[in-house]
Symmetry: D2
Subunit: 343 residues, 4 copies
Amino acid sequence: MINVGIAGSTGYTGIELVHLLQRHPHAQIVWITSENSAGKPLSEVHAVPWNYTLITLEEAYGRATEVDVVFLCLPHGQSITAARTFAEAGLAVIDLSADFRLDSADAYRRWYGLEHTAPELLGCFVYGLCEVNRERLRGARLVAVPGCYPTTVNLGLYPLAKAGWLGERVIVDSKSGVSGAGRTAKLPYLFVEANENMTPYNIGYRHRHIAEMELVLNGVAPNGGCHFTFSPHLLPANRGILSTMYVRVPAGVTETQIRNLYAEAYAGEPFIHLLPAGQQATLRHTVYTNRCAISITADHPGDPACRDFIIVCTEDNLIKGASGQAIQCMNIAFGLDETAGLL
Amino acid sequence: MINVGIAGSTGYTGIELVHLLQRHPHAQIVWITSENSAGKPLSEVHAVPWNYTLITLEEAYGRATEVDVVFLCLPHGQSITAARTFAEAGLAVIDLSADFRLDSADAYRRWYGLEHTAPELLGCFVYGLCEVNRERLRGARLVAVPGCYPTTVNLGLYPLAKAGWLGERVIVDSKSGVSGAGRTAKLPYLFVEANENMTPYNIGYRHRHIAEMELVLNGVAPNGGCHFTFSPHLLPANRGILSTMYVRVPAGVTETQIRNLYAEAYAGEPFIHLLPAGQQATLRHTVYTNRCAISITADHPGDPACRDFIIVCTEDNLIKGASGQAIQCMNIAFGLDETAGLL
Amino acid sequence: MINVGIAGSTGYTGIELVHLLQRHPHAQIVWITSENSAGKPLSEVHAVPWNYTLITLEEAYGRATEVDVVFLCLPHGQSITAARTFAEAGLAVIDLSADFRLDSADAYRRWYGLEHTAPELLGCFVYGLCEVNRERLRGARLVAVPGCYPTTVNLGLYPLAKAGWLGERVIVDSKSGVSGAGRTAKLPYLFVEANENMTPYNIGYRHRHIAEMELVLNGVAPNGGCHFTFSPHLLPANRGILSTMYVRVPAGVTETQIRNLYAEAYAGEPFIHLLPAGQQATLRHTVYTNRCAISITADHPGDPACRDFIIVCTEDNLIKGASGQAIQCMNIAFGLDETAGLL
Amino acid sequence: MINVGIAGSTGYTGIELVHLLQRHPHAQIVWITSENSAGKPLSEVHAVPWNYTLITLEEAYGRATEVDVVFLCLPHGQSITAARTFAEAGLAVIDLSADFRLDSADAYRRWYGLEHTAPELLGCFVYGLCEVNRERLRGARLVAVPGCYPTTVNLGLYPLAKAGWLGERVIVDSKSGVSGAGRTAKLPYLFVEANENMTPYNIGYRHRHIAEMELVLNGVAPNGGCHFTFSPHLLPANRGILSTMYVRVPAGVTETQIRNLYAEAYAGEPFIHLLPAGQQATLRHTVYTNRCAISITADHPGDPACRDFIIVCTEDNLIKGASGQAIQCMNIAFGLDETAGLL
């Protein structure tokens, strides 16, 4: 039985992690922290029956020896200190923030506008995109869980990128449920503002999640960098991300070749659902699961020479896009069945 | 053409008032205030194209002579000073807050927990429930617009109360869209919290809106007070209130008599929609309109001696429950066609 | 490992059962039927990746020996033949329809308007309200799973009824998510019709689910029958039922006594979540779980002699109100851990 | 006063037309048809209080002389006969179907799969995109109201197309509320299926609405045809379309030039809302209005040589995308104030 600590439980990813770990056969939660609600039972903060009593991060440091692994569900910028402290105490650290996803302090400064205070640790974290980095995750002690949007984009385009078929520019039009904005009381996320509405934000080459797309997809592409136009939209739903991606493959590459490429790349993957030709991936395929669903469509139905394709990839942003993938990372890192607690 | 000022435009009732007055044939908006956004165009605060520039309440006092009537969309407790200032400047005042709805400083203190600072004005305001107080509203200069919940309850039960058929206790189970909670960034009103959820709050004999039910319905009842059990619930919808009301009428009163009573009471009313037997009032009957819809159902289908009835009354909480009724009040007070701008 | 057959998989309770059994540690699905989609994979009917191939009910009869238990997710009236056939083949039968919930063909005819074609079996089925009938469920071979609404009402009021504190009349104002209406393409259940709307239907003493309330609660009440006024409303949410119940207890019974009564009645129950004083049960407490949440509120806050109480009970209508409770019944009947697959 | 007939009132565009015409100062409805509900009051078909009695299309032909103009809200393929009959009776015809939007029977056959039975009339209809075809609409007797999606695309891109800046390919990623699917009881449009979901459909170069984009935008482009990749998605909202459009302008064209182009093209337009730099068009800007909102964003924030731009255009699909634009056409055709009944 793996003993787990959760740092930062009052947001949506924190509580989702609690939900998922409750049913994990080989892990149990020992403590949970919350800066604002320390001393209260978790059931006062979320509509749950469990009577975990919340503790402070400070207290958690003192109780580090009680756990084997700590999940950090802290805001960007606040994970660094916690990660270092727990790592030095010998714990495995699985960080759901962006603090250790990028590969340099420069990149972190450019996209997050913050000076990284533990740049020496950046290279020590494995980027926890399980289907891509599985081997590196085995036995890993420090894991950076990917962002929600990049998981759909990276899993949706990885086979193309690796084959060198991604082209020079990809347009990613993403739609995210409101839980992606976090559990903070801000006007745009009020029910009345978001319901019966749709809002584009940070569209173009602006959103910090682009960094993770470049890192993963341009990192693996044999033929140089691809430019990502990434347009997120706020969707009136609690959960789920649907990314519609427009790519141009090299001349001569056929739809059949692309389908075979994906089928091979994801053969045996328990959490990748490739839709057959003619079916589209929807949010419903993935919400409340740890799966990604992927569908592939040629732009022009009758044209065998068509080079433009539309890849749709969906996920539950709180599960595969955050807490589920974090548990999947733990399962791999600790040598458990990768699907434990996730089916 | 009536010149209108609006004090407090950034909430949901304020902006609804702007929307409705835009299409009013005999009224035009001259100025609009906002404490937090003064100096900005309204289009920065709401998704509207109009370029009204917001002013402070202070500035509005200085520009009182430019308008004939001011609508106060201020929080409870803040209307009192504004009402007095504008009234002294000779303006008609239509107050959408609760500050002048009750008939005594005692009642105000009991239900709102505040000391009323202009108790001498309490008796000067007409309670703007148009279908009930129409005659008193003609020529009125000071109007207190009814609360959203009480409008459904008072219009839904008025004929019964006046006939002395209301009984000793009424159970009111109300469901309100989230805009009823106002445009304030609080956790329970976040999309993710309210969507796919339903929450009872202040149920029983607790909610301050009970005061208006007692005032109107017990005020008119020939045979003494009725106890109101009032249970509001937060509904995952932007707009609309549906109140399901359980009443016991005196022995011998039949369904036909009740239907006739309502038909007579509301004959010719442009904004009361009585549903025929067998149909239920729904939110859809009233949202985005200034109407109330009312349906009447005997508890026991086969029993002619049945004394228990279920009255359902619906409205758009921002229109008939607030800004629409406010305009209806203005129309009556200024001698205009009562439906002007409201169809 | 228990081998399971599911008859009727294309509705919402059928697919929910598939979802839940997927993660059950001691049960596995062997076959699934669908009259309309036989021969197709389940993934063509629902947004799921599993490649169960659907078979006809006829085929299922032929493959009865392959399974230990069959869950019937068939429409009311169609379960009877299937239940008899599978029972005669020696299978345990867990029926999610209403066909075996009532205790007589008379009652069935009165409430469902159908002649029961296997009245001799009516007495053989155990009514699967687990917290009430747990002992009778042990080893049971034939189980009738309770209706969705009655589960909230019966669990919400059972302690009061058993203590003889239920009074002569209870008003039940229920709100149900749209999945309660089933997966049939009818106009009122279209997104545009149900969204941003709320609709009362069959209110008063009309809905057939009243039969189950009378059976359970009047069956256990020491002092005679209670009249149920039951008003269901269609709620714009996918899942969940919230029932607000208005009861009058005998003089002298205090809030503390009632709280103690519930605490004792439900001590140790894994799926009953009693809210502490001052908190209300919401849908969020129970959706996507097998739990009921119950809260108790005195009508009049300051009055120790208050006899009127408001009980709120919530559940996920597809889980505790159908498929989850069905699995809970199986767990008890087969001597498994009652919570297996349900946490 | 213009006398109006409405053929086909029971869908969403039909009832929206009724709503809008109710408040039109210079038009009144004389009769309304419905094939399925003839003889019933409209209030049995929609949650409205008006007691128009529905008639058949056959009866409407007999009562053609009572009206000046007929709006056809009939399914595609059924408008042709009605249009001819009413036109021959001397009425003005405003057709909301697709039957007279295209310019040839060939195009109609290719995109709609139907043989056009009145090809001689195709050239007689004016395509009612008011901001583009205003002059041709003055005095027009036969008008084809544009489709919902094409209105956002054509208004969103018209200035670029006319300037020859549209490029060779435009990617249009559109999201539509469920009312766009019509009022037909089909499984994918059930509340439970569409809510908390998002579904791409007919993505790429497939959807018949592409024909209208090509007709309008390629028709005006000085430098030849543009290829439209058009990806519609079903959005969990009642109303509204948001189209995110990715264009590449010629080298040297700057963001300022584009903004000036739009400002000039739409100067004085009462129903076009151009958002200032830094703000995005949202559904909230346009639902329940006859407006389009348009925002312009450079792909790469820091690059003055950036040629890639993202145009977002939103509308209410039932108003500007259908019935509102139909009334706008009537206003222009009959020489009324263009905004009459639409503010």
